[in-house]
Symmetry: C2
């Protein structure tokens, strides 16, 4: 198959920032692309060869979108899986495979999969309805505090809440959910695994999420993680194990906890390029988006090592700002060495919305960390 010609047609479900960064790579290789997204202002509206506006969760829309494609991939897992399964049955290559997405799309199924395959993960209980949680607390079956997670369609912190009292359950979605034991972790780590259809695999270095001391929010994604080599090796092996058990073609981002006694527990996975891999555009020999394309086109995998240390800072909408976005002090951060802002192109900002990210690279990780802090303290995403 000649991917590098307009005979070949790649479809992407979702036209957000992940799709947009994927399109840098398809443009680089002149791979023909068609993108489906519900928003007429999707970041992927340009840079693809064909843009289709439509609902990712609608069977007909996704099924029709898949007609005439050679390969279909995703940039977001909340898509209509029945349509993908039908398309796969009819011979379309769908990567990651619908089978893998079924396991991952539902957090309860995902957790059960870990249990079934002896993959270490935090203890949890599954509930068909939120109301069952209350009963379970009342009859002592479930101890406070715990982490509530909606089973499906949570995103960007939505759908996850620490529950310390019954009151915390107020206003949560009523449907299927899980209650997970809180893990007093030493570090939150992530590893991206790449796997092509031949079954060739590679893992990226372990990254570390550094949290804000007060606000319980990831501030920096740091590559390589500043952890013991043995722990890093254990994390990469576990991530690889998960990817092979799921057997997916594409990228699998595996988020993990490093416990106080250096156990590694799988928190959750994403079957696609991931926020924790954005640093790779500037720091790695092969960035995660090119690697994803290599996986789904069954090409040889690229080197996952880093040229330099990389740190990523998310650009999220400032609190108290909703409306037309303005990036304050952009010029200030452009004065700093090794700083690359990425602006996703969302026209409207709102508190905590992911509007972009900034990568800081440096041969010296401590210098990169200092610069990252300057960036964090300088740039603001506000409204006009």
């Amino acid at each position: 198959m000649n991917y590098f010609s307009s005979d070949f047609k790649l479809g992407i479900l979702g036209g957000g920032q992940l799709g947009k960064m994927m399109l840098y790579e398809t443009r680089k290789w002149d791979v023909w692309t068609k993108v489906l997204d519900a928003s007429p202002e999707a970041p992927c509206k340009i840079s693809c060869d064909q843009f289709v506006q439509g609902e990712l969760l609608d069977f007909e829309t996704v099924y029709n979108f898949g007609q005439g494609l050679d390969v279909l991939t995703i940039e977001i897992e909340n898509v209509n899986l029945d349509a993908l399964e039908r398309l796969e049955k009819e011979g379309l290559k769908v990567f990651p495979q619908p089978r893998a997405l079924r396991i991952i799309q539902n957090k309860a199924k995902q957790k059960l999969f870990y249990v079934d395959h002896d993959i270490p993960t935090a203890e949890f209980q599954r509930f068909a309805y939120l109301s069952e949680i209350e009963d379970s607390i009342n009859n002592g079956g479930l101890k406070l505090p715990f982490v509530w997670k909606v089973a499906q369609f949570g995103y960007d912190g939505q759908g996850v809440k620490v529950v310390r009292s019954l009151a915390d359950l107020q206003g949560l979605p009523k449907g299927e959910c899980i209650a997970e034991t809180m893990i007093p972790f030493k570090n939150e780590l992530a590893v991206i695994v790449a796997r092509n259809s031949k079954g060739e695999t590679k893992t990226y270095p372990v990254v570390e999420m550094e949290f804000h001391p007060e606000a319980n929010q990831v501030e920096y994604v740091i590559c390589p993680a500043r952890i013991d080599d043995k722990v890093a090796t254990k994390a990469r092996e576990l991530a690889l194990h998960v990817a092979e058990k799921i057997g997916l073609t594409g990228l699998l981002a595996v988020e993990m906890f490093q416990t106080q006694d250096d156990q590694i527990l799988v928190n959750e996975v994403a079957p696609r390029p991931h926020n924790s891999g954005h640093y790779s555009i500037e720091a790695s020999y092969t960035n995660q988006f090119e690697q994803h394309i290599r996986c789904i086109l069954n090409l040889p995998l690229g080197a996952t090592e880093s040229k330099v240390a990389g740190i990523m800072v998310n650009l999220v909408g400032a609190e108290g700002h909703t409306g037309d976005v303005v990036y304050e002090n952009m010029e200030e951060i452009l004065k700093l060495e090794g700083v690359t802002p990425h602006i996703y192109g969302k026209k409207q900002t709102r508190p905590f919305r992911k509007m972009g990210h900034v990568t800081i690279v440096n041969p010296d990780i401590d210098q990169a960390r200092k610069t990252a802090q300057q960036v964090k303290e300088t740039i603001k995403v506000i409204s006009k």
Copy 2:
């Protein structure tokens, strides 16, 4: 001026591969762009916000294209300068400035500029018509051999010829041209200078063009050049001097000869991102396309140092192949570490047409050079 919002409008004259690679950067920063190119199949057709099909040398077309823009730049210097001057008079920011393009667009003017500003360059004579060269040879005013160069609108090796006998003049364009003394150079070098409107400047490391031992054709662009530091410093200083004398805003690629006695002579310049800077996408802290955008938007300049050694191999159409392009053995080169192909997206190949390039990066320049040779010997650009 808020560049990072759709209020700001950037125009680009030319929609070829340089424009295409510029658009990766405008997309990265969500800068609104409009592109003018004569071809409906231009590589820039997608990825810009608006594409206009039209002739770059037509006054009306370029003048109308400039209406409503905030900044206008180029990816090729063969554009209608009268229109640019008119637009500049009417207040449009045109970078590089038409004044600078006037000097550079005509090779005879360019050479005279060097002479007027004591910039070392090969000796030359200027001729209004090709026929005058023949007369000059006959009356002994011009000695064979020499390098004939068309004054205007030469590109990709077109418009340059080594003349060893009168017969070599057959079939050359009749118009204005120069005859340049042949320089038996030790190395052909290039330096890219970045300059924003504030007059801030930075130079990239010196690159070296390595020629094929038999065919007199550049095979590899190597960064950093494997030359003495003193020579490298002299080359960077000379390039900076040229850029400041021209006083242009944007990038200036300065091609130079290193003579047998280590003098540096300016060969020619290009007022834009340049083939000799393609390595920077994978190897540099700030790639030349982002740097160009920083210059013309008057943003702080980015670091020009390299993360790793970089070597660039042009992908040109193989001899004897004309028609729908096929990239043979692409998968083979993707197996090699640190190898990144760039496919420009031209649908038709013909002998020596620039269809793409491949960058090879490695911490060890000798290993990069070995890999580059493997790439060169493996991939072929042929027709179906």
